[in-house]
């Protein structure tokens, strides 16, 4: 429960931290456009290289970015594998013929189950999974003795491989860019920036201040509610609820015993907050001054110009190449 971190801000100091949140958001948007416009693998590779240079300049360690990527690792691999397996354009590169017979299927299944059991004790779960996966493929393709009941041929085509790498690079770039934003920007600053960036929408009667206020309150209450959830877990554990054990039927009761107090406490908290805001004469929609004013610095203009140029360049490459 304590490991849930949303919008992981890590204190630090570099030009990425000193930038105005408005500029960060706009720059992120421009770079996203650029990344989606790029359609050449070598340009995409160049963009990734650019980001890899940007990281040490902004004093962000690769490890932190990896932690941002980790939850999406499954998705990345999934898209990569699917592109390779099902894209059949271009030159055929290699094929791998898998033959299933009772023995090798059993060995492959055994390897997988062994990995499931052992993953708790090994440190590099993901690396060991790749190893096991490779071993399963080898077993299935090489160790065919008798009575194969099915075959499957994995065929890898040039286009498929290149496109898979291209998609992978694009996803990595997008996630890394957003991770940089959340690592270097406090949620409150981000929210303030968002409010200012969305301000033009006021013309079409979108209440941007309220949207920002809602996001801000939601962000503010994540740690509080996690804390409350923790207290409820302890109080119910005191009454014999074992959250780690139990049959399916027990699990449902356990979750209800956690959710009902959680709901009630959340409503109580929001009621109290609404009263506290009213007691301080908060009127929705009234013009308001800020404790922390955003200041536009020369750095911000430079960053905005550079990212804008990058976007224009990527559009140019797309049209002219």
């Amino acid at each position: 429960m304590k490991n849930i971190v949303i919008g992981r801000y890590i204190p630090g100091d570099s030009f990425l931290y000193r930038m105005d949140p408005r500029v960060k958001l706009i720059a992120l948007f421009l770079l996203f456009v650029a990344v989606f416009v790029i359609d050449e693998l070598w340009v995409m590779g160049g963009a990734l290289l650019g980001i890899l240079i940007l990281l040490p300049l902004g004093k962000i360690s690769l490890k932190k970015v990896y932690f941002g990527l980790r939850p999406l690792l499954f998705l990345l691999i999934f898209t990569f594998v699917f592109q390779i397996l099902f894209n059949t354009q271009g030159r055929l590169l290699t094929t791998l013929r898998l033959e299933f017979d009772p023995l090798n299927t059993a060995i492959a299944g055994g390897l997988f189950i062994a990995w499931l059991f052992l993953k708790r004790f090994t440190k590099f779960t993901f690396l060991s999974f790749l190893g096991v996966f490779a071993a399963i493929l080898t077993v299935l393709s090489q160790l065919t003795i008798y009575l194969p009941f099915g075959t499957y041929t994995i065929a890898i085509y040039e286009e498929g491989l290149l496109f898979a790498i291209f998609i992978l690079l694009r996803l990595i770039i997008i996630v890394t860019l957003s991770t940089i934003l959340t690592i270097t920007t406090k949620p409150t600053d981000l929210n303030l920036g968002l409010e200012r960036v969305l301000k033009p929408l006021k013309v079409i009667k979108v209440n941007t201040e309220e949207i920002a206020m809602i996001i801000g309150i939601a962000l503010r209450y994540i740690p509080t509610l996690l804390d409350e959830a923790n207290k409820i877990i302890l109080a119910q554990a005191s009454r014999g609820v074992d959250f780690q054990e139990g049959k399916f039927k027990d699990k449902i009761v356990q979750i209800i015993s956690l959710l009902v107090p959680m709901f009630i406490i959340s409503f109580q908290r929001s009621d109290e907050l609404a009263n506290a805001m009213e007691a301080r004469c908060f009127v929705p929609g009234k013009p308001r001054t800020r404790l922390n004013q955003l200041i536009w610095k020369p750095l911000d203009s430079v960053v905005l110009a550079v990212t804008f140029l990058f976007m224009v360049a990527s559009i140019g490459v797309r049209i002219l190449w």
Binding site: E228, K231, I232, L234, A235, Q236, A237, S238, R239, G240, V241, D242, Q244, I256, S257, V260, P261, I264, I265, Q268
Partner: protein
């Protein structure tokens, strides 16, 4: 022996990455029978953290908590083979705010929740629940009411009944009287005393009110900045020279007697109402 803590410390990491020692090197033992202990200390002194070590909700980061026949250390706490729920049945902990535990549709169902968790049949659990509700002074008319439509004091009683229904050997109460009117506070403390006398259950209660300490507790534990600074009788505590440095206060009775003492010419042999009345009478006649 019920609870024995050997040099228990609990350190957690604060939001700015600095370690905070919630409790430091606490050693104490609580018998499974006939104890009536008050746990006092200023806010933030580690009382609640200590109480959560009593029923294995928290594990010491160093040291050992021997809870009946189970030893809880930083290592054994993580071991899933060592079951913690049996400990929690024998050592019941009531939290300060009832909102954190009430969830069922009716009061009776909510109180019967704990006994059911420990594998009792519905009928047996309901019997225990009814008995527990009777102990805390809630009659039959409450059985089918929703716990969320009760007053704060009634919720508190339901939450206490919810733990009493497990029939624990040791009952730990985190501020059982907070948020109650004076009359209910007195009634509730008397309920605990009755339970203690009838069943010989050991009771540990956290409080800020020295009057309860004086009139009910047989033994007092004082926490100060994470350390256990006093373990003894209430009488010894109120005569202790460091009472004020621990941010503790004397109970009203002793304050009154001390006030009268300053106005008397004759020195008192002992500090109780009889001695004071005697002294006043002799001064009036002379």
């Amino acid at each position: 022996m019920g609870i024995r803590l050997n040099a228990v410390s609990h350190v957690y990491t604060a939001i700015n990455q600095t370690p905070v020692e919630a409790i430091k090197n606490v050693s104490l033992s609580i018998h499974a029978n006939d104890e009536f202990i008050a746990l006092v200390g200023e806010t933030g002194s580690g009382k609640s953290t200590l109480a959560q070590h009593f029923n294995a909700l928290m594990a010491p980061t160093s040291g050992e908590a021997q809870l009946f026949d189970v030893s809880i250390t930083a290592e054994t706490f993580k071991d899933k083979k060592i079951k913690k729920t049996p400990i929690r049945k024998r050592i019941g902990l009531v939290f300060q705010f009832p909102e954190y535990q009430l969830f069922e549709e009716t009061v009776l169902k909510d109180v019967a929740f704990a006994p059911k968790n420990f594998g009792l049949k519905d009928a047996e659990a309901n019997e225990l629940a009814k008995h527990a509700l009777e102990l805390v002074g809630l009659d039959e008319s409450y059985y089918s009411r929703s716990p969320f439509h009760l007053s704060g004091g009634e919720k508190k009683r339901v939450s206490i009944a919810g733990i009493l229904a497990m029939e624990p050997d040791i009952l730990v109460l985190d501020e059982p009287t907070s948020g109650l009117d004076p009359q209910s506070q007195e009634t509730l403390m008397q309920v605990f005393q009755t339970i203690q006398e009838k069943t010989h259950t050991s009771i540990v209660f956290i409080t800020h009110d020295m009057n309860w300490v004086e009139s009910y507790a047989k033994r007092v534990l004082v926490m100060h900045q994470g350390e256990l600074v006093f373990d003894g009788t209430p009488g010894d505590l109120f005569n202790h020279p460091e009472l004020k440095t621990w941010k503790m206060d004397e109970p009203d009775r002793i304050k009154v007697l001390n006030e009268i003492k300053t106005h008397l010419k004759t020195p008192l042999k002992s500090l109780d109402f009889n001695a004071v009345i005697q002294a006043i009478k002799t001064e009036e006649t002379s």
